[in-house]
Point group: C2
Chain length 396, copies 2
Amino acid sequence: MKFSSKVQKCGLSPMRKFHPYAVAAEAKGRNIYHLNIGQPDIETPKAFFDAVRSFDQPVLEYAPSPGVPALIEAIRDYYAALDMHFAAEDILITNGGSEALQIAMNCILDDGDEILIPEPFYPNYNTMARTCGAVIHPVSTSPEEGYFYADRRRIEAEITPRTRAILVTNPGNPTGTVLTHEEMEMLVDVARQHDLFLIGDEAYREFVYAGEPLQSFGEFTDAAENVILIDTVSKRFSACGARIGCLISRNRELMAHAMKYAQCRLAVPTLDQLASAALYQVGPEYFAAAREEYKRRRDTVVRKLQQIPGVVCKCPKGAFYLMAALPVDDADTFQQWLLEEFEDHGDTVMFAPGEPFYGTPGKGKNEIRIAYVLKQQDLERAMDLLALGIRAYQQR
Amino acid sequence: MKFSSKVQKCGLSPMRKFHPYAVAAEAKGRNIYHLNIGQPDIETPKAFFDAVRSFDQPVLEYAPSPGVPALIEAIRDYYAALDMHFAAEDILITNGGSEALQIAMNCILDDGDEILIPEPFYPNYNTMARTCGAVIHPVSTSPEEGYFYADRRRIEAEITPRTRAILVTNPGNPTGTVLTHEEMEMLVDVARQHDLFLIGDEAYREFVYAGEPLQSFGEFTDAAENVILIDTVSKRFSACGARIGCLISRNRELMAHAMKYAQCRLAVPTLDQLASAALYQVGPEYFAAAREEYKRRRDTVVRKLQQIPGVVCKCPKGAFYLMAALPVDDADTFQQWLLEEFEDHGDTVMFAPGEPFYGTPGKGKNEIRIAYVLKQQDLERAMDLLALGIRAYQQR
């Protein structure tokens, strides 16, 4: 049977690629420290489960295609408190941030079009762009520069007649880079000048560790036609399993097109929407505690990494990921070796190899992404295992 | 700003097109009987809400991309009881049947490809196919023949070198047609002979009213490479708001490609999956009661429709929809008139105009789709309103 040319260009998730090796290692009795998946261990606020339990309609009906009004209002209030003011029509509730991204790309990307994304980037962007017949045009960075990309000349040099949008994840996954206000302003200006959409994937907005105010591309009301925000409750409230996100834009034509896809898939789950609306009642102390915890974890991981000879890792400013270059030839081979050959007191460690986060062929071969979503003590042990593993691997 | 050529070819849902007119009519104090949307009023089994309430994990984590194992097992057991035996890898849990359809089409349709669908068909298929750059090639039917399409010559005549799949909704939405076993066998044989996928959208499998056994294209194990099933808990358990469906196929290459899209959107909501697994514990008495109720409603609607002079409507065998041709020039204009000009004791009625259910331009102009999802008494009144409306409209 013949399959579409687009799906044949797509791949499986690199974060899940080593799953079979992990299963085999566990079958041998290995205990694996998982730094490969961004599943936070912070408790989901009770408000979510309380809301779910208090649902008392006899029929679980379709929600409206644009989303449950109570959730849209909760999101409007959340932004209003950050001095960003959106109309209800500017917000479309989606199946996680993932669907918001896919809908945004479906609306703007044609076959052969390009979307500019700084590399390393979240690998699922590839599948989303390829589904539209488009390709990701990467903006290069380096571990030595801390994956810095917000340079006007560097970005403008990559714009071609087929470029339709710039997509930045801020705070960054996988790099943890955080843009300054001036850098955001510059990106908005580039988008406006070149008539491009600027998609801000802001899933990790709350996760910044230098006491800076929360930022969003939604602040730039003078670029209302260009800016598209991707938002989600997944990381903000440690509610990944709710799969509730949203697409936000003041571009009414875009939102009208997006509604076609929203109606096509009918609705987003009713209970998860109602419960996610309740999440927004959570006070600032929830975020402060989560931020404090992740900051401590980041500091641990960075300190431990920088102690390993040959590792290149600048301290990232946000999210709960970082990229690092290792003193190994190929992080992929190294990961497989860690799962098949290595152990220390029965333990080993898993990360995400860096290459699939790059668009430029051959880049990122000796890099890894670490998600610091484990408790402090486990993180310490995981980093020790990484250090031991690197030494043992080098001395094979 | 420039938008994709594909989204520009897509439209809004015809079922929701008259929503603003309905709002305006309600503002004038009109009471509207809704026959336009397929939202059942049957109670969702309590097992769903009990399962949701008993969730006691502190973190609402991502579910596995292919789905929660308990739900996959529940679905396997459901099919095994119908003597269809699937491996866990044959089943991918999706965000409703809608996502299963979109993933299936993404896997097999390229730009310029055609998918053969008997018309009238579910209009959202248009958006799904266009998202892939493909088009729907309709197989024509007529109200006078009860929308019969399962004729080998008629179908084979429409196959072109660009045809990649045949999609049938069985039992049918919007027509309520139900295939015989021999007709299903013929369709499978056509698919096999022409190397096409056969997509069976079987969302309404339980809703058949002549005491016939439940049927599925999944029975045809000798066409394992060709057959793709679309399934959902939405109508089966009156749980539309759960948005839990699945894609089922024994074609392993297809399932491997589908997994790329599943991983790209990470997961389907955790709670809805766990609760949907519990739905499958519901006994046969639940379906028997629902079937009995819908059969009574169908009989009412058909009896009333056939009493209206000039209406063409054959009694459909399944689902909870029917199409009928009305003695009006344009069902769209008629619907608008019903909402803006007509009332009887303050009441009026809404249906879905038929034209958007057709792929052939100009067809279905005087047809409507009725969803018989109201209680018996309300249905009687709604049909009386339709009859009164037609008479008044003709006498304007």
